[in-house]
Amino acid sequence: MIRNLGAAAIRGAADFFYAIGFFFRVVKNGALYFRRGQVGFRVLVMQILFTGVQALGVSAIIALSLGAVIIIQGSSLLPQFGQSRLMYTILIIVITRELGPLLTAFIVNARSGTAIATELGTMVVSHEIEAYVSVGLDPISYLAAPRVVGVTVSMLALDIYFNVFGLIGSYLVARLIRPIEFNEYFGGIAAALTATDIVSGLLKCFVFGIIVSVTAVYRGFAVQRASTEIPVAGIKSVGGGFVLCILADAVLTLIYYI
């Protein structure tokens, strides 16, 4: 039993260091992506199309609903404490700094994380990855890097749209239920929104984008031979992505307030 435990610990440590090494290699390839003459530009374009453009609808609906709920709740509750203007601060904390990036990460993780993991898993099983290697293409730089860059860029763009829908679009939704002056609302938003909020939100999205994409790519490549491993890779990718995003969110928020 002790031997098994030791073996498991050694295997776990080896896997952990492999994952760390993989992470840095993928991130390095992603960072250098635009410096190289890319045959994988199409992969990047398609990744942004699937991850960003096609997720815009879901993201917009969530942002609109969330923003509208905050506006309605805030405009009913906060004036009772004489803190009406706090609504804008809450709206910005939720939409721009906290839930916006996190929900965007969840959307992307659920849609694209699974897609990337299963797609790469399928490619491994059908020897397509080996086919890339055989012609001289590094799967990390050709398959992983454009996906990481694509997902991260999509996350950033989706976060901007989430903010726009959450802060502006939700006003229109809330207006249907509770009349709020346009000038008052946007004056309040403009006064409460700072560059730090925007940068903080975008930074989180950047980190979440890398986490979601690298986790998905790692899980996809971890498939070995059997097609039954593919759905498992998808599930592990989503689960790992969620956990790591929430952990990263906590760490980033902690750093911000420290």
Partner: protein
């Protein structure tokens, strides 16, 4: 093939460009709101203490933020050097003999940095020293009236000005009540030519007075939500008036309680107590209640006076209680007016009657 896949590059390009444009738009909006692109003019000053100011504290001129503190440093002389900037839109106000005042609220609600422009037409160059009223140079400017310092029309003064007519109104009403009760007292004593009708009329006007007072109190409550130490003094005067009323009412009660006294005689030539209590003792009971209510009012006002000094926010609730008591007093007086002996019972109070009663309200 789907449109978005066939034109993937265009769609993705549009998606990213629009996001970048929106981000730029948001940043420009935030920047404009936070004056990233506006020119600031820097000056410096000195204060005795840095309490109440910090980098970012706004500098106000007649309620408008005209600049902000950028840096404060405790210098070797244990005074505070402050660097601040004035927004470009207000730079014309920074003239020779301008002064700064670090105002601290006596109520402990924080202070503010007030800017008073000099009366001189000459504009001060950037990086000039602008004295504060903490030091002689600043005080001297103000004493010589070289700076445009407005009269001390602070919030408290304005509130006191608002409350004055209201307190006068209350006083008037109290005097009215007092007069009425005195008259009633006289009547009950059997003072010559005094007639019950006059009493009733007097009570009627008193009721209206109290009504007005109640309405006034509503607005008073709203205003007194902010601190109003001056009210203490006036409340004391009010208390004196109410004590006088109480004295009068006590006499009335004493007179009424005497079954062989003047009251029964006045009300019933036969002097029968039974006649007096023909309405099942409503009149008696109500007058009694009136006395206790008035007594309660006095106690409330007394406690109000005490509490005012220490806890200002409680004024609101105290006045609300005072209002309730006055309403009860109004009921009592109304009852007195409508007593079966005099007219006919205490009407049931309706909280908010429509000016034009509906058909449903009519008796069939």
């Amino acid at each position: 093939m789907k449109f978005s896949i066939r034109h993937a590059e265009s769609v993705v390009g549009g998606f990213i460009l629009l996001a970048a444009a929106l981000l730029c738009g948001i940043l420009v909006m935030v920047g404009a709101n936070q004056r990233w692109f506006a020119r600031n003019y820097y000056f410096h000053s000195r204060f005795q203490s840095g309490a109440g100011i910090s980098p970012g504290t706004g500098i106000t001129l007649k309620g408008f933020t005209v600049g902000k503190i950028s840096k404060i440093v405790l210098n070797d002389n244990n005074t505070v050097d402050a660097d601040f900037f004035i927004f470009d839109s207000y730079i014309g106000k920074v003239r020779k003999n301008s002064v700064l005042e670090l105002a601290t609220s006596p109520l402990g609600l924080g202070g503010g940095l007030l800017f008073y422009p000099g009366k001189d037409a000459e504009r001060l160059p950037e990086h000039s020293y602008i004295p504060s009223m903490d030091f002689e140079d600043g005080k001297s400017i103000v004493e010589r009236e070289l700076a445009d310092v407005p009269p001390r029309d602070d919030t408290l003064t304005r509130l006191l000005a608002n409350i004055n007519p209201l307190v006068d109104n209350i006083n008037k009403t109290v005097v009215n009540v007092n007069k009425t009760v005195t008259t009633l007292n006289g009547a009950l004593k059997g003072d010559g030519e005094t007639e019950v009708g006059r009493i009733v009329k007097g009570i009627g006007s008193t009721v209206r007075g109290v009504n007005g007072t109640v309405a006034d109190l509503d607005s008073t409550v709203a205003i007194v939500k902010t601190e109003l130490p001056g009210l203490v003094e006036r409340s004391n005067a009010l208390l004196d008036s109410l004590k006088a009323i109480s004295g009068n009412l006590e006499q009335t009660t004493a007179a009424m309680r005497d079954p062989t006294g003047l009251v029964p005689k006045l009300l019933d030539p036969k002097g029968s107590l039974k006649t007096l209590l023909d309405d099942n003792g409503v009149l008696f009971a109500k007058i009694d209640a009136m006395l206790s209510d008035t007594d309660k009012t006095i106690k409330n006002v007394e406690s109000m006076t005490d509490t005012l000094k220490s806890s200002m926010p409680e004024i609101t609730s105290l006045l609300a209680e005072g209002k309730t008591t006055l309403i009860q007093t109004q009921d009592v007086l109304e009852g007195l007016k409508n007593n079966p002996l005099l007219k006919g019972g205490i009407p049931e109070r309706k909280t908010q009657e429509a000016a034009q009663p509906g058909y449903r309200d009519e008796d069939f």
